[in-house]
Amino acid sequence: MPDSPTELGGLKVGAEDFLAAVLQAAAQPIWVVDPDGLIRFANPAAIAALGYDTPDELFGRHSHETIHYKRPDGSPYPAAECPMLLPRTTGETVTSELDWFFRRDGSMFPVSYVSVALDMPDGRGAVVAFTDIETRLRAEQVLRERQAILAEEQASLRRVAALVAGGAAAADVFATVAKEVAQVLDVPLVELSRFDADGAMTVIGEWADRPHPFQAGTRWPLDGPTLSARISSTGQPTRIDDFADVGGTIAAAVRSTGVRSAAGAPIIVDGDVWGMMATASLADARLPDGIENRLADFTALVATAITNTQAREDLRRLADEQAALRRVATLVAEGATPADVFAAVAREIARVLNLPLVEMCRYEANGTATVVGASGEHPFQTGTNWTLDGPSLTAMVRRTGRPARVGDYASVAGAIGDAARRGGVHAGVGAPIVVDGELWGVVSAGADHREPVPADAERRLSEFTGLVATAISNTQAREEVRRLAEQEAALRRLATLVAEGADSRLVFDAVCEETGRLLGASSVNLAHFTADGFNVTMAGWSLRGVHVPTGSRLPLEGDAINTLVRDTAAPGRFDSYEAARGELARVLRQLGIRSEVGAPVVVEGRVWGALIAGTDEEEPLPVGAENRLAGFAELVATAISNATARAELVASRARIVEAADEQRRRVVRDLHDGAQQRLVQAVMTLQRAQAETELPPDVEALVRDGLMLTRSAIDELRELAHGIHPAILTHHGLAAAVDALAERAPLPVDVEIPDDRYPTAVESAAYFVAAEALTNIAKYARASTARVTATRVADDLVLAVEDDGVGGASPAPGSGLAGLVDRLAALDGTLTVDSPPGRGTHIRATIPLPASGPPP
């Protein structure tokens, strides 16, 4: 036996008393079993734990039979197998973590016990101390259950998180979340919705174990105090336990599904209530408390997914947009035509903004708009023209010069509105195209679906319009530069012609052709307005033979560009000859010319005529063509001035020569009529005197002398007169005069000159060339024969004198030939002397003949 308990802290308490007191007070159930297994003692805790009222009910009963007789599964439990009684035989302490006792009422409860051997006078018994562990077990069970739920939830969340992190599409995330939540929370219906800008909500994901109206994609108005409405306005989780009296569309649908109560949590994205997740229970079950908070874990994930997706979406969209802008910018930089740029931009906008109905319009001067580029199936195709009646996008942008949007074409009146409705265009946005500070046109993008156009659509559209404006500006500038360069080159070519003193006709024809090609006209004419009111066509050019024939002479009256230019002395245009009156107009119509532009040719302050460009196509020549024409008309005016000046110069020189010739002819005539006649008479008188018979010899001698002298005088005068101007030239022309020269020449001269008469100045010049040449031949050439020819070559008279003499002649200054050069130059003629030594001489005078032929 261990130390006596009476030594407990000096207290002199009897061991049995102490033990009894302790056993009495202890909460731990304890009993004692004797060597036969009978219960000899049980403390109040044990009695209570086993469900008995008094110790007598237990004392003397077999322990095993009373409380330990069956296994938990109901099968009998033989005492021999009971470990609790072992210490009686083994003397070893036995502990059990879990066993089952029976109470008085037959119910089982779990215990853990320790059984210790106790020596007794008649053998060994056992002291058993046990603990009811039912509560503990149950607590552990609850904990395990809770942990399991949590683990499930965590796993679920992880799965969803993995989806989100893996960049799954938002729709996938929503659907998955709905399913996971339904499973984890063990609810029959979960749906996720997005709150739209117009106060409705769209279901974006759902899962349910039965059919229901809240399918993904459906839209519901937030009328009535439903879950959605509350969450939308408060941003807090909430629940509704009875939809019986809740009004509104959603509530009605909810009731029809058989839902009894519902709970929901908000999805917060970037601080805004983006949407919500809701779950519901059916008629008989009520959703557990706090479920709306468990939802919150999932909604947070959903919010992240949405944010990610949106971010990704934004990034993708941005990248898309940047790529689209780059493609268009490349086109622009490569100098693509505006038409190509328009088409490309329309396509890109449709794709990037997901607004498939795109058109780009140019505002016309007459208040309409013409489509220059389009994408998608709709009535506003490239080339169509629209009046801006009604509040269409095109009209609004034109009025305000700012972006605009149409929410619903159902209510837009006017031509565009009607066409939009017919074409299925539902809504759209438009942005202005501003080129070089001026409102040039508009880009519109619209949708045929019912979804609202995103709020940033105008802004994104504007990024494209900026590029379009640059393209247009570039193209216009390049076009302008190219046109200017072309024009400069053409003007230079023509100016060179003019400066070189080219023939007027050549210049006129060249101007007509250059102008025509530059302006893209079908025909160009140069018209001269005569003093007596006629329009004479001086030159012309056309692609298809539609120009007024050169030489035409028509009255300068009626409705035509000619009269307009004459009256205004300014560039102008005549846009349609269809109803024009007058013969000019009639001729033009016959030729097929539909419209013309013209610029005046002003010479010495007077409208000499006009340079006119026309087209046989339906579209008149572009605005500004008449001004470009003006540059060329000025060139023509200069050419004419030059030509006139030159002609005048030539004419004045010719007049001088003419006057001199006339004077000479007069002198010769006077000589003839005067002195020469008298001398002839003198001769005849003397001859008659001579004929008289019987003249004294000295008188006869005197008469003879007188005759001789007088004859000499006649000869001298004749030569003088010939030298001044031979009468035969005046009366009978060049051929006869040269014949006369040939007859008097000391060598044989072959004359081949047609009998035609030419203008006096020309005949004189040619005659004197021949006379001088023959004189030189007679004096220096030592030739045996000579030849004089005159031929008409084109518009010139060519007089040639050849001999087979010694050559080496040249028109030295002061010589007769040199003097002739000037006389010829006055007539715009030339003289060439070809006189190689030893090979004879060839003299050639080329004298222009007037186009109208010799004077009568």
Binding site: Q677, V680, M684, R718, H731, R744
Partner: protein
Amino acid sequence: MPVRVLLVDDDAAFRQSAAETLAERGYDVVAAVGTVAAARAAVGRLQPDALLLDVNLPDGNGVALATELSRDPRRPRVLLTSTDSSAVTRRLLERCGATGFVAKADLMAVDLRSYLDQRRDR
């Protein structure tokens, strides 16, 4: 029968002396006129055998008249003359059908018969 001669010259003094000379030589000067027009009329009216015709007339050319007369079936013989001895070339002479050209200064010296006397046979 004396040869009947029409005298055509615009110088009155010459008409005078030429008429005297011709008369002295036995010619019958039927008329003396001063223009082409008058000459034409006189030819038509008087039908002379020959003409003494100055080439330089105020209203036309003697050569042209000679050419004209050469087509006349009666064909008077035409002797052209002029103060200017080189007024008519050989070619002109041949073409106009005149019988000859003699400068006024030489008229007295030549034998006029070869020019005036023979009536041209058809």
